[in-house]
Symmetry: C2
C-alpha cells in the first residue's frame, strides 16, 4: 500500500492542490471517540460519535458523573483513528457482502456505457484517473434490487437494520430512558415519529414510499442512511467544480470536509473538466451517498448545445454514472412543454440549471422532453442499480416575487404523477423543492408536496426567505430551511455564503454546513424527535456549571467556540473560571443564579426555622436570649 | 471647532483605541445618496438612503430605466457627506426646538442626581469626560411630557410626523404605486398594518400603547423612530464594555458601526469602568435611541453586592441616566418574590443578569423588590423625561429545556399588570421576551404576550432555537427572531456570534446586525408590510439581468457581496459578464432562461405561422414548395 502522502501527491500533481494525510488528521473531534454499535450480525457495525464530559463539581465537594453524549456521525472512517487513509484506493466497501449475498446482481466484465468504455482507454485522461479494480454491478435480468422492492416484499435488509441503529444512537438503552424523556413534546404537523426506530419501522416507511435509502450497489463504500420525515432531518452539501474554478483534489477535500461538519449526503454538481474522473474520486472516498444531475454531463458531451441533447446520449450518461455508483439522480422530468409559458412573466424566469436546459430543449424541438417521454425507461435503469430519483424542481422560484406560482405548482403536480410511475417500478423517489419563498408561504409548499406526492420525502434548497442579502444566503435560507424541516421536509440542501456570487471554497462549505446543521437540529427539536434535546440539555447543563471545556466539545463547531472564548479570556485558568468576559466576575448571572438556588434551599430551611421560632415565641419563647432572637428574625 | 483627528486622539489617548475621521469615512454606502424628505414644516427633514441603479440593457439595443431603491436609514448624519464630524461635540440636537417649543419642560441648573453632582467635580474622571454645555431638562412641575401623553391628548407631534415619513420612505408617491403593489399579500396574524403610515396613525398607535417612540428630551440628537407591530420590524444592537474588556472609543466606534449596519436602537450594557462617562460619549454621538439597564450601574455603585442595593441608590441612578438622555430603561420589576422558587428546578436557573441580581436581593431581604414596590415612583421619573419602560424579562429561559415554563409566564403576567400601571401614568412601555425557545413554542410566547400585555410592543432576544451551536448563535437565534417578528414582535434584540462566549468585537457586531436585518426584513415580507418587497424585487431583477454592480449595491452588505464575487471572478469585465463562477458561461441558467423567454416569444409568433401553414395546407397549399413546407413544420 502506498503511503498517504504519496497518494496525496498523486492527486496534487495532476491538479495543483494538496490533499495530505496531515490535513485530514486535523479533522478529528475533541474529547470524542468513535463507538461502534453492532447489530444482529457482526458485519452490521454502526459508528457513532461519543463526546466525553467532565464531572460536575458539587458545592458539597463531591462530583456528579455526566454521561457522554452520543451524536449522529456522518464522517465515516475518516474520524476513526484506527483507519489508515489511502485516497487512491478509496474507503472499504462495507456493503459489498450484503449486496453479493442477495445474489440478484452480477459483476459486469466492462462498463455498459459507451462513454465509459471509450473513456477508459483514452490515454489523455490517464493523469486524472483513479485506479479501481472492482467491476461495476448490475441487477440480474428480471431482478429488481431496490430497497423499496425488498421492503415491499417484507424483507428487512442489513441496510435497514443499520439505519435503525444509526437513527437511535443507542438512546433506547434503559439507562438513558429518563434523560430522553426530559424534552418538550414537539409539534410534528402530522408526522408519525415513533419513540424508537426499529428495523421494521424503517422497512415499513420505505415500503410506503415515505422514506428512501440512497445506496447504489456500485457505491458499497457508503454507510446506509435514510431520508424521510419520520427520521432525523438530513442535510445535503453541494460540491463540484465548474468551468471556471476548482480541481479534483479540492473536491475530494470538500467532500471529506463536508462530511466532517455533518453532511448526510453530498451532490457532485461538477460542470467543468474531467467530470467523469472527479466523480470516481469522490465516490470511492465518500462515506455518504452521492447525488448528481446527469444532465450537466450530458450537456457537456454535446458541447453545451441544449438542443443537441438526445435520449440516447442521456441514457448512456445515466448508465455511466449508475455504474460508477451515484446514489441518486436529479431528473428534471417535471418540466413539461405546457409549463414553460407559465414562467415567461416571472421576475427571474427559470433559475434551475437543469430546468432551463430542458426548457430550452422543449422549445427548440417543440415537444415534451425526453426525460418525461422516457420516464419509464429511466425507471428501468434506476432499478437495475438502486439509484433513487430526486425529481428535480426545474421550475422552482428564483426570487421572492416568483414564489408559489403557477409554474412551480404545475410542475409539482407532474412530479406527483411521476412518483406514482416510479413507485410502480419500485424505484425509490424523493422530490426537490424551492428555492426562494417568504416565510408565510413556506408551509403551503410542504402541504402541497405532501398532498400531490403522497408523502414521498421532500428535499428543499433553503428556501431563502429574502433576496436582499447576497453573502449571507446561508442565513436567509437557514431560516426557511429550519421552518420547512419542522413542517416535514426530510432533507435540506445547504446554501453557502457564496450563493449567487461564486463557487464555495472550504470555509464556505463549513459555514453552509453549520447553518444547516442548526436548521436541521432546530427542526428535530420542534418536531419532538426522541432524544433530540439530549444534546441541548447537556450543553445547557455544562453552561450553567461553567464546564467550559465541555461546552466547547459539545458545540457543533468546537474549534470556533473555543477560539471565540479565548479571544477575550485566553488563559488556561479561564477555562475553569466561573464567569465569562460578557459580564465579568461580579455580574455573572449564572453565578448569581447558583447562589439564588443555594439561597432558596437555605431559605426553605430557614423559613422552616423562622416558622418554628414564631411558634415558639407565641408560646413564650423562654429559652431565647433577646439577642439571638433578633438574629433569628433578621431575614423574616 | 477642533479637528476630527484631534478629537479622536482625545478619546484615543485616554483609552488606547483609535477612532478617526478616516475610519468613519469608510462607512459610506456605495452608489447611495442621502435624500431628505421634508414634512409640514422645514425642520422636519427625514433622511432616507437612495440606491442608484443602472439601466437595463434590452435585447433590442435600447435601455430601460430602473428607479432608485429607497431604504430605511439608521445611520444618521454619519452617512451624510455634508456632515462635519466632531465626536467631542456630538451630533446636532435636531429635536431641541420641538422640545423647547412645547414649553412643558425646563433646563436645570445642575443635574438632579447626587451621583452626577459629585462625579462632575471629581477630577479623577477628567480624562474620560466629554464636555457638554447643554443643561439637562426635566418636565415642569405637574406636566407630563411623554409622547403617549400627547397622543392621548390628540396631539400629533413633529416626532410623530417624522416617523410617518420615515416609515413610508416616500413609497406613497403615485409613481411607485404600481411597484409597491407587486408583492405577496402577507399573513400578519391579526396585526393592523395600513397601506400607508399617516401621522395620525402613528398618534393612534402610540395612544393605544401599541407602539412607543423612545426619545428622552435629554437625547435631542436622536432621530425619531417607532417600535410597534404595525410598523417595520426593528433591531436593537447591544454594545458596552465589561470589567474584562473594551474602552470608550471602542464603544463609540461600535455604536456608529452598528447604526451603519442597521441598528434601530442600541443598548449600552456597560458594566465596567467609567460607565457614566462612556454613556455620555455614546448618547451625544448616537442618532438612534439608547437603552440601558440602570441596575448594572446601581450595582457597581454598591461594590457589586446585590444585597446592598437600595431604592434610594437605584432612584438616583435612574435620574442620573434620564438626565443624560437614555431613551429606555430595562427594569426587571416583574421578578417577584413568589416567582423565584419556580426557577429552582431549571436547567439554567436565572440567566438574565438583572433578573438574577433582583432575585438575590429579594431572597436576601425576603421581600418584594424595590423595583416592584416602587413601580409608581419609577413611573414618576420616567414621565418627567419621557423615558420608555422596557419591562425586563428577568426570568426568561436560558436554555431550550426551560422554555415557556411557569416562572417565565408568571413574570409575563406581572409585566402585563405593570404595563397597566405605566399606562395610567402615560409612560410608554414595551415588554422584553426570551431567550431560548424551540421553534414550535415560539408562537405561544407571542400570543401570551399580546394577551397579557394588551398589545404593548414585544422586544425579544432571539429566541435561540437550539443550544448546541455556540459561535453561531446569531444563526440559531436569527431563525427564532425571524419567526417571532413575523408573529408580531416589534423589535428584535440581536445576538452576535460571541453570545455565551465573550464580548462582541466590531466584526461580531456586524455579523449580528446582518443576521438580524435579515430576520427583520423576512418578518416584514411575511407580514406583508407595504413596499417591503420592493427591495427584493429590485435585487432579483438586477440578478436576472446580470447587473452585478446593482446587485452589490442593493445588498445588505455590499462590500461582502462584491468581495465574494471577486474571489472567483476578479476582473472588471466580469462585473458585466452574463454568467458567474457557479455555473460558468455555458450552463448559466439565468442566461438560458432569457433565451427561453425570447424563444417563447418567437415561438408564439411561429406557432401562429405554423397554424396558418396548416390551414393553408388543408386548403391545398399550392404555393408551397415541398422543401419549405418541411421546414415550416420542423418545429411543430
Amino acid at each position: 500500500m502506498a503511503s498517504a502522502n504519496n497518494n496525496s501527491t498523486d492527486i496534487a500533481s495532476s491538479t495543483g492542490s494538496p490533499l495530505t494525510q496531515a490535513q485530514l488528521d486535523r479533522l478529528s473531534y475533541p474529547a470524542s471517540s468513535k463507538v461502534y454499535i453492532t447489530g444482529s450480525r457482526a458485519d452490521i457495525k454502526v459508528g457513532v460519535r461519543e463526546i466525553e464530559l467532565t464531572p460536575t463539581q458539587l458545592t458539597n465537594g463531591e462530583t456528579e458523573y455526566n454521561p457522554p453524549v452520543r451524536v449522529y456521525d456522518m464522517s465515516g472512517p475518516y474520524s476513526d483513528p484506527a483507519f489508515t487513509l489511502d485516497l487512491t484506493r478509496g474507503l472499504p466497501a462495507l456493503r459489498q457482502g450484503w449486496i453479493e449475498e442477495r445474489a440478484d446482481s452480477q459483476a459486469l466484465h466492462q462498463p455498459s456505457s459507451h462513454f465509459s468504455q471509450t473513456r477508459e482507454v483514452d490515454l489523455r485522461y490517464e493523469p486524472w484517473r483513479m485506479k479501481v479494480e472492482r467491476k461495476p454491478r448490475c441487477a440480474m435480468p428480471g431482478k429488481n434490487i431496490t430497497q423499496l422492492h425488498y421492503a415491499r416484499m417484507g424483507i428487512i435488509t442489513p441496510e435497514m437494520e443499520y439505519i435503525a441503529i444509526r437513527e437511535n444512537l443507542g438512546l433506547t438503552e434503559p439507562s438513558l430512558e429518563e434523560a430522553v424523556r426530559q424534552q418538550h413534546p414537539g409539534h410534528s404537523w402530522g408526522a408519525s415519529i415513533p419513540a424508537a426506530i426499529t428495523p421494521e419501522f424503517v422497512r415499513s416507511e420505505v415500503a410506503r414510499g415515505r422514506a428512501v435509502i440512497p445506496n447504489n450497489i456500485n457505491h458499497p463504500e457508503s454507510e446506509p442512511m435514510i431520508i424521510g420525515r419520520n427520521f432525523r432531518t438530513k442535510v445535503n452539501a453541494n460540491i463540484g467544480n465548474s468551468a471556471i474554478t476548482s480541481s479534483i483534489a479540492d473536491e475530494v477535500e470538500k467532500l471529506v470536509w463536508a462530511t466532517h461538519w455533518g453532511a448526510d449526503t453530498i451532490m457532485d454538481l461538477s460542470t467543468g473538466q474531467n467530470i467523469h474522473e472527479t466523480r470516481e474520486w469522490i465516490l470511492r472516498n465518500s462515506p455518504v451517498p452521492v447525488g448528481t444531475v446527469p444532465l450537466y454531463q450530458a450537456l457537456e458531451k454535446c458541447g453545451g448545445v441544449a438542443e443537441d441533447l438526445t435520449w440516447e446520449l442521456f441514457r448512456d450518461t445515466l448508465i455511466e454514472q449508475a455504474e460508477q455508483g451515484v446514489d441518486y439522480f436529479t431528473i428534471h422530468a417535471g418540466v413539461r412543454l405546457a409549463h414553460i409559458p407559465l414562467t415567461a412573466k416571472r421576475v427571474t424566469g427559470i433559475v434551475s440549471r437543469g430546468g432551463s436546459i430542458m426548457a430550452k430543449w422543449c422549445l427548440a424541438h417543440h415537444q415534451e422532453s425526453f426525460l418525461y417521454s422516457h420516464f419509464e425507461d429511466i425507471c428501468e435503469i434506476m432499478k437495475a442499480y438502486d439509484v433513487c430519483f430526486s425529481l428535480g424542481d426545474g421550475l422552482r422560484p428564483g426570487s421572492i416575487a416568483d414564489a408559489n406560482d403557477a409554474a412551480q405548482f404545475a410542475e409539482l403536480r407532474t412530479l406527483g404523477e411521476l412518483t406514482q410511475i416510479a413507485w410502480k417500478h419500485d424505484v425509490q423517489t424523493f422530490i426537490e423543492g424551492p428555492g426562494h419563498v417568504p416565510m408565510h408561504m413556506i408551509k403551503e409548499n410542504m402541504d402541497e408536496q405532501l398532498k400531490h406526492c403522497q408523502e414521498a420525502p421532500f428535499y428543499t434548497l433553503g428556501p431563502l426567505t429574502t433576496d436582499i442579502a447576497p453573502g449571507y444566503d446561508h442565513i436567509t435560507s437557514g431560516i426557511g430551511a429550519a421552518m420547512i424541516g419542522w413542517y416535514g421536509c426530510a432533507m435540506l440542501c445547504y446554501v453557502t455564503p457564496k450563493e449567487h456570487l461564486g463557487l464555495p471554497n472550504k470555509e464556505d462549505v463549513k459555514q453552509g454546513m453549520m447553518a444547516y446543521r442548526i436548521a436541521a437540529h432546530a427542526a428535530d427539536l420542534a418536531k419532538g424527535h426522541p432524544g433530540a434535546q439530549l444534546h441541548d440539555n447537556a450543553m445547557s447543563k455544562a453552561r450553567f456549571e461553567f464546564r467550559w471545556q465541555d461546552q466547547f466539545n459539545l458545540a457543533l463547531d468546537p474549534e470556533t467556540a473555543r477560539a471565540y472564548h479565548d479571544e477575550t479570556m485566553p488563559k488556561e485558568g479561564h477555562k475553569v473560571a466561573h464567569f465569562c468576559s460578557m459580564c465579568g466576575p461580579k455580574f455573572c448571572s449564572m453565578k448569581i443564579s447558583q447562589e439564588v438556588r443555594d439561597a432558596a434551599a437555605a431559605d426553605e430551611a430557614q423559613q422552616a426555622m423562622v416558622e418554628k421560632a414564631r411558634e415558639f415565641r407565641q408560646q413564650g419563647s423562654e429559652i431565647y436570649h433577646p439577642a439571638s432572637k433578633g438574629e433569628a428574625l433578621d431575614n423574616a
